[in-house]
């Protein structure tokens, strides 16, 4: 058996065990206080305002096909979509979800329907609220811009895989007077969203939406696991660097 595969397997197994452990531990104690992420605070306020004002939320889950390495960010986007759809389901205008991939389009429709079902308002579900806006990066962007501009959107949330073309969406939002909250797993997309969006989700913050919006103990457990494993990796990197300095190369 390949040594890399073995290490990978052990790593995933450890992460899995930690999520279960933190999940069980979370049931027996009070909810953990997470550090403040301004984007999620703004999102909570925006949902309330959208419901009161009868405007719409626009949630874009990007174009990372679920059978590609970028699929995880799209799936994280569906978690955000589900939480926001639940919160906004009592409003006059249902949220709109856009995506740039067929499988994500189906998932967004399914997520919206399931959110409406949970809230007991399945009859208000509109299959056209989960839209595939385009299938290439620019056609997806070009298809999303009119939705932001013409459909009384009060806030746009971009959570998924977006490249630098996301700046066209933030510009459309700014022109229609609505703020944008953006997060992506793409490095150039992140740099652009940092400058262009009103609030940015950096790095793993895209995946933290569930824990911050109350999606359940497993979301909190997985976020605790991320913090724990990251600290462990940083510690290992420091030890490896220190050993390297004194001439011991543990990577070899």
């Amino acid at each position: 058996m390949n040594l890399n595969n073995l290490f990978g397997f052990i790593f995933v197994l450890v992460c899995f065990g930690l999520v279960i452990y933190f999940g069980v531990a979370a049931r027996n104690r009070q909810a953990r206080a997470w550090r403040e992420i301004p984007a999620f605070g703004k999102l909570r306020r925006a949902v309330g305002l959208a419901v009161e004002a009868g405007t719409r939320l626009h949630i874009s889950i990007g174009r990372g096909a679920i059978n590609s390495p970028q699929g995880a960010s799209g799936l994280a986007g569906t978690v955000l979509l589900e939480r926001l759809a639940r919160a906004a389901s009592i409003g006059d205008r249902p949220p709109i979800a856009t995506s740039g991939d067929g499988s994500l389009g189906i998932l967004s429709q399914d997520t919206l329907r399931s959110a409406y079902r949970v809230m007991g308002v399945e009859n208000q579900y509109d299959p056209n609220s989960g839209r595939v806006a385009g299938l290439t990066p620019f056609s997806f962007t070009a298809g999303t811009m009119p939705i932001i501009r013409d459909e009384q959107v009060s806030i746009s949330v971009l959570a998924g895989n977006f490249g630098s073309e996301a700046v066209l969406m933030t510009d459309a939002a700014e022109r229609s007077g609505s703020p944008t909250i953006g997060g992506t797993d793409n490095l150039s997309g992140q740099a652009v969203l940092y400058a262009a969006a009103d609030e940015t989700l950096i790095g793993e913050e895209v995946f933290a939406g569930g824990a911050y919006l109350g999606a359940g103990p497993m979301h909190e457990a997985s976020l605790t696991m991320q913090d724990f494993v990251r600290a462990l990796i940083v510690l290992l990197m420091i030890i490896a660097s220190a050993l390297n300095l004194i001439g011991i190369d543990i990577i070899k």
Binding site: G8, A72, G102, L135, T141, A142, D150, V167, A196, I233
Partner: protein, 205 residues
């Protein structure tokens, strides 16, 4: 297919594919490959469903005479023409390639050009929206990297700018990017684990 059957199928298939990646031999490997092939076929169908969804949304816009419905009409006509041409002559025929090279490429290139102008505007807007030290550092870094990347008008290459640019790109940018990618990778693993345990069910469960 509703919970718990859909959840059970998703979890079992996910675990089998994961096992096939880590133990790539024997029946696990062939099972993993078969399941991935099925997923590719399903993704193809999903693409088709996406196109149908796109047509439906724009058709409704045309029927309701919503603002900008003329663009929806252009989209549907262009889509129909492309499907007919590429379907009849094949995707690599000269007529199909003509559409690609003379319609899609110029349109996307124009958007790319627009993007570069917009990025400069966004940088200026950042100073107005968040006039803090981090924004100034961000903008200063952007300009230093830009100036050090290409030769300047009438001056040519400025050695000191190139050295600064190389330092920024090779040291702090790589360190920051690795930190962000580490976070993204851990987030992706966490998302995968939540789906494998059935805590997240984006398939309507």
């Amino acid at each position: 297919m509703r919970t718990p059957l859909s959840a059970a199928v998703a979890i079992i298939v996910g675990l089998l594919i994961l096992a096939g990646y880590f133990f790539p031999f024997g029946p696990l490997l062939s099972l993993k490959n078969t399941l991935i092939q099925w997923a590719m076929i399903l993704a193809g169908f999903a693409l088709l469903v996406g196109v149908v969804n796109l047509i439906k949304v724009h058709w409704i816009k045309i029927r309701k005479r919503s603002p900008g419905s003329i663009y929806s009409l252009i989209l549907i006509i262009s889509l129909a023409v492309t499907i007919v041409v590429a379907g009849y002559f094949g995707p690599v025929a000269s007529s199909s390639l003509w559409i690609f090279n003379n319609v899609q490429v110029p349109v996307e290139t124009s958007l790319l050009a627009l993007l570069s102008v917009l990025l400069i505007y966004v940088v200026v807007r950042l100073l107005r929206r968040r006039p803090d030290s981090i924004s100034i550092l961000f903008i200063a870094t952007v300009f230093l990297v830009l100036l050090g990347t290409a030769p300047l008008f009438f001056i040519g290459e400025v050695r000191v700018l190139t050295v600064i640019r190389n330092f920024i790109v090779q040291v702090p940018a790589v360190a920051g990017a690795r930190g962000i990618l580490l976070g993204v990778a851990l987030g992706a693993i966490a998302t995968g684990i939540r789906i494998l345990t059935g805590a997240d069910r984006p398939y309507g469960g």
